[in-house]
C-alpha cells in the first residue's frame, strides 16, 4: 500500500478523484472519531458532517500543504478545530446529555435497576462534560471509542506517556466529582 505522501503526490499531478477516495477511506474512521470525541455521543450526525467538511477542506488545500508535519496530523488537526467550532454552535442548539442513552440493560434487570442505571449513566456523562476540552476528548477516544494509547498519540499528537497521565488525572477528577454527587 502506498504511503499518504505518495498518494497525495499522485493526486496533485493527476487530480484523479479515485486517488482522493482512497485517501478518504484510509482516514475517514479516525477523522470521524476525532469529531465524535470532541462533540460527544449526542452529535454523531454533526460529527459525520464535520468529517465530510474536513475532507472537503483537505481537497481544496492539499496543493498548499507544505509537508511540515505528517499529512495525517494535519488532517486530524483540521478535524479537531472544525469539531471545536461545531461544538460551540451545537451547545446552543440542544441540551448536551439528554439525547444519549446507555446501551440495553440486561434482560433480567428490574425496572428500578434500569432507572438507576440510566441515572448513573446520565451523571457520568454530565461529569465528562465538565472536564476540560483535552481531558474530555482523550477520555472519549480511549474509554468510549476504544482507541489504544498509540493511536491517540497519532491522532492528537500528544505523546503516549502524557496521554496516559492525562487519562489518569481525568479519571481522578471524574471519581471525585461523582463521589460528591
Amino acid at each position: 500500500m502506498s504511503s499518504d505522501s505518495d498518494l497525495v503526490a499522485r493526486f496533485r499531478e493527476t487530480r484523479d478523484e479515485e486517488l482522493f477516495r482512497q485517501f478518504v477511506e484510509r482516514h475517514q474512521q479516525r477523522v470521524f472519531h476525532v469529531a465524535l470525541s470532541v462533540l460527544g455521543p449526542a452529535y454523531s450526525g454533526d460529527a459525520e458532517e464535520v468529517a465530510q467538511e474536513v475532507f472537503l477542506q483537505a481537497y481544496l488545500q492539499l496543493d498548499g500543504f507544505r509537508g511540515d508535519s505528517a499529512l495525517s496530523s494535519w488532517l486530524y488537526r483540521i478535524a479537531w478545530n472544525r469539531a471545536v467550532d461545531r461544538r460551540r454552535l451545537a451547545r446552543f442548539r440542544h441540551p448536551h446529555v439528554a439525547e444519549t442513552e446507555p446501551g440495553a440493560a440486561s434482560p433480567d434487570a428490574s425496572p428500578l435497576a434500569e432507572v438507576l442505571d440510566r441515572e448513573r449513566f446520565a451523571r457520568v456523562q454530565a461529569a465528562v462534560e465538565t472536564l476540560p476540552e483535552v481531558y474530555r476528548t482523550l477520555v472519549r477516544l480511549h474509554y468510549w471509542l476504544g482507541c489504544p494509547l498509540l493511536e491517540i498519540q497519532e491522532i492528537t499528537g500528544i505523546p503516549e506517556g502524557t496521554v496516559k497521565s492525562y487519562l489518569a488525572r481525568a479519571r481522578k477528577r471524574l471519581e471525585r466529582r461523582l463521589a460528591n454527587v
Binding site: E17, F20, R21, V24, E25, Q28, Q29, F32, L36, P41, S44, A47, E48, A51, Q52, F55, L56, Y59, L60, T100, E101, P102, G103, R120, F121, V124, Q125, V128, V139, Y143, W144, L145, G146, R171, L174, E175, L178
Partner: protein, 93 residues
C-alpha cells in the same frame, strides 16, 4: 471492569455510514461542471460597471469621491457573485 469504565464505554459508538466516501465525492467541487463566466458575460459586466460609473459621474459629487468610487465600483461590479459569497460566507456564519 469498574462501574465508571462501564458507563464511560456507553452508549455503543455510532458507525460511520457506509456511503461516507461517496458522500464526500459528491460534495467535491467540480471545476469542469462549473465553468468560469464566459468572456461575453464578463464584458457585459464591465460595460455595466462603466455605465453605472458614468451615471454616478453626473451626480454632484466632489472629484475625490469620484476618484475613490471608480475603482471600488469597478471591482465590485465585475467580481462574480460566487466569489463574493465565498469571501463573505465565513464572516456570516
Amino acid at each position: 471492569m469498574s462501574d465508571l469504565d462501564r458507563y464511560l464505554a456507553e452508549p455503543k459508538p455510532p458507525a460511520l455510514s457506509a456511503q461516507f466516501s461517496q458522500r464526500v465525492a459528491a460534495r467535491l467541487p467540480r471545476s469542469a461542471a462549473a465553468p468560469r463566466s464566459s468572456a461575453l458575460v464578463r464584458a457585459y459586466w464591465v460595460v455595466f460597471a462603466l455605465f453605472v460609473i458614468w451615471q454616478l459621474a453626473s451626480l454632484p459629487l466632489p472629484r475625490w469621491a469620484a476618484f475613490a468610487l471608480t475603482p471600488i465600483l469597478l471591482v465590485a461590479l465585475t467580481t462574480p457573485f460566487r466569489s463574493w459569497v465565498r469571501l463573505l460566507a465565513p464572516m456570516l456564519r
